[in-house]
Symmetry: C2
Subunit: 399 residues, 2 copies
């Protein structure tokens, strides 16, 4: 099937829907775990499937550097490479290269940057960033944008936003000219039978290709967020992301900027808020009309022993857990909570054992995914207000 977004239920501004992609369907609202270099750190792919993960995010910058775009293209694209036959989204690399503040130089043409791995020189333009994403072969790919630094003055933010708009047009033009070059693209011919490993990527339906989303910028200025949204929509993408947030601003400002942009995004297309947030926040962004989110928080926090539970946050290294025979979260049905005690998880973390990182990550992902399933169900039942009343407001300070 070609890319399609179908809304199945609404409750206020919130929507429950379904994304159709060449590698399968995704129920929205959706939280996408981050698999930076084609792995969610410490979690095997079959466990991600068991958790109900329907779409993963991979980072173009990291895969471009290692193992390289041509290597992955040569291996059949990133789904086949990582033996994950469900949808994948890649970011444009923009956020990562802008994070390399000492190693990059931005011009109208693009961004020159040095690898954080070996210092080697590279250049991303809208064209080359999209080309890299075509080579990687994710189902959903992103226009190349400038993530404006924070804080930034109005004039600087506006000119950065203008450049992102020009880059969005260049990204789209390049994509439209090369959209049939993804390794798994097949036009009007039966898909060939696949050999090799049993769990390889299923042959996609002929004629399918990738989908390019645009990204709204505009820093911390509501009128620029509006202008960026309206002018990105004029370029006509099948989906829109809100980028440039979670860059150090206070959380109420993040929320304000999302609100400033979202009302100017079309009702019938998916809206993706990049790089957020806590479990409380993602629920409130869904209530505001966001369909897709990604964040390193559940996975990174897990590796540092910070766990999200129905009873609040928990730092597993705390000595009081050393004799605690209970599960991490008594209300969680994940394979960690139904088998292991807090005392054992505390021991693994204190002993710096690999298994601590794996089990903690599995639980945190289960908590995020379960939260998303529950909010989706609340939307379908028209019960979102009562669901939200049981959730902390999104502006709580973080631990």
């Amino acid at each position: 099937m070609p890319f399609r977004f179908q809304i199945e239920a609404r409750d206020g501004a919130a929507r429950a829907g379904r994304l159709f992609t060449p590698h399968g369907e995704v129920q929205t609202p959706v939280f996408m775990p981050v698999g930076t270099v084609a792995t969610v750190k410490g979690v095997p792919q079959d466990v991600l499937e068991e958790l109900g993960v329907e779409i993963l995010l991979n980072n173009t910058y990291h895969l471009y550097l290692r193992p390289g775009v041509e290597a992955i293209r040569g291996l059949g694209g990133v789904q086949k490479f990582m033996a994950w036959d469900r949808p994948i989204l890649t970011d444009s690399g923009g956020f990562q290269v802008f994070s390399l503040s000492d190693l990059r130089k931005v011009t109208e043409e693009g961004v020159a940057f040095r690898s954080h791995l070996d210092g080697s020189s590279h250049f991303f333009s809208p064209e080359s960033a999209v080309a890299a994403q075509i080579g990687l072969g994710a189902d959903i790919i992103m226009a190349f944008d400038e993530c404006t630094e924070h804080p930034a003055e109005y004039a600087r933010t506006k000119s950065s936003m203008e450049m992102t708009l020009r880059w969005a047009a260049r990204s789209k033009k390049y994509f439209d000219e090369h959209r049939n070059e993804v390794v798994w693209f097949k036009q009007d011919t039966p898909a060939p039978a696949k050999g090799g490993l049993g769990r390889g990527t299923p042959a996609p339906v002929p004629g399918q290709t990738q989908t390019l989303f645009g990204i709204v910028q505009g820093g911390m200025f509501p009128d620029l967020r509006r202008e960026s949204a309206e002018r990105t929509v004029e370029l006509d993408f099948p989906g829109y992301a809100i980028g440039g947030l979670s860059v150090g601003e206070p959380r109420p400002m993040t929320y304000e900027m999302v609100n400033a942009a979202i009302r100017f995004l079309p009702e019938n297309k998916p809206r993706y808020l990049m790089g957020v947030g806590t479990p409380e926040e993602i629920v409130h962004y869904v209530a505001g009309g966001i369909d897709m989110m990604d964040c390193v928080l559940p996975t990174r926090a897990a590796r540092h022993g910070l766990l999200f539970t129905s009873e609040g946050r928990l730092t597993i290294k705390n000595a009081r857990f050393a004799t605690d025979e209970g599960p991490l979260d008594p209300n969680c049905g994940c394979k960690v909570c139904t088998r292991y005690s807090r005392a054992y998880l505390r021991h693994l973390y204190a002993a710096n054992e690999l298994l601590a990182q794996t089990l903690n990550t599995i639980h945190n992902l289960a908590y995020y995914l379960d939260t998303m399933r529950r909010v989706r169900q609340a939307i379908i039942l028209g019960d979102l207000a009562s669901f939200l009343s049981g959730v902390q407001p999104p502006h709580v300070s973080l631990p």
Copy 2:
């Protein structure tokens, strides 16, 4: 059921049998993965079950230091602590404390040693090492022995062997007086219903307790190996281990020492060769009459990217695997070989990703366990000679 060993088939010196323990049956010959601090590094317990692991080894020294014997006893014993309801064997701590060559002092009474974690002072005697193992609560526990250093002169080896015999008698005496103190022991009363986590230890049958094995020493002298075996057998243990090998001696010498001891061990009791070996070696030790083995090799090698396959050893970081779409081992049915390519596993290792260690370990364990299942089947079919003809001799040099 009380501890029992039943031989079901013989082929030459080799035996296929079954160990019955309070936490379940173990088919022999068996390879026991090493779970040093109550975790096989990087592998969740449900995956160990899927692999068919029937018994794990835990290290008393490590668990004694962290989280501590009383902590584990208070949590119901090591099976319940680590949510593993199958049998566990603990070593005596002897090998680890003797490895701390700069941090220990040996007297007739026992070994004073300093923790490798924090330098704190501790003392293991035969009595306290057995007491620690009763506290931990494994199904099979080991007498406290002196692992003679290598190389050692005859006189030194003999006096060390004599002390191990005296320590074996003290270990047995202490165990006989305290054998009913294991936390899961129940005498002639119905086992209580268990609350708590779903995958906790099942209540053992009333009247069951732990089993203590003796350990043969004798360094690299065949006559001392024989004497140690005969005099340990006089002490009458339900099972016998051969210790003090894999301490730096050449492999043919290991093999010679095993042969020197094994013929003086009783036919009807299990024989456990400690701390060996490669896949080729374990098969040949089985052929010589060994029933149980443990080794860190498959798990430690995996974490360093050295993989055992039906086509030989493979160093996954090798650049030639970067474009290799094939499975790690085309003849292996494990969850790694049926899903992931060498190219992906090479990428994970090169990128220093956690998942590399997990997947590599799962495969190496699968290879060892599958090897043991195949040799067991060959014994049952009376086909061991033809099976061995397809295996490299055990004296091959290691990579």
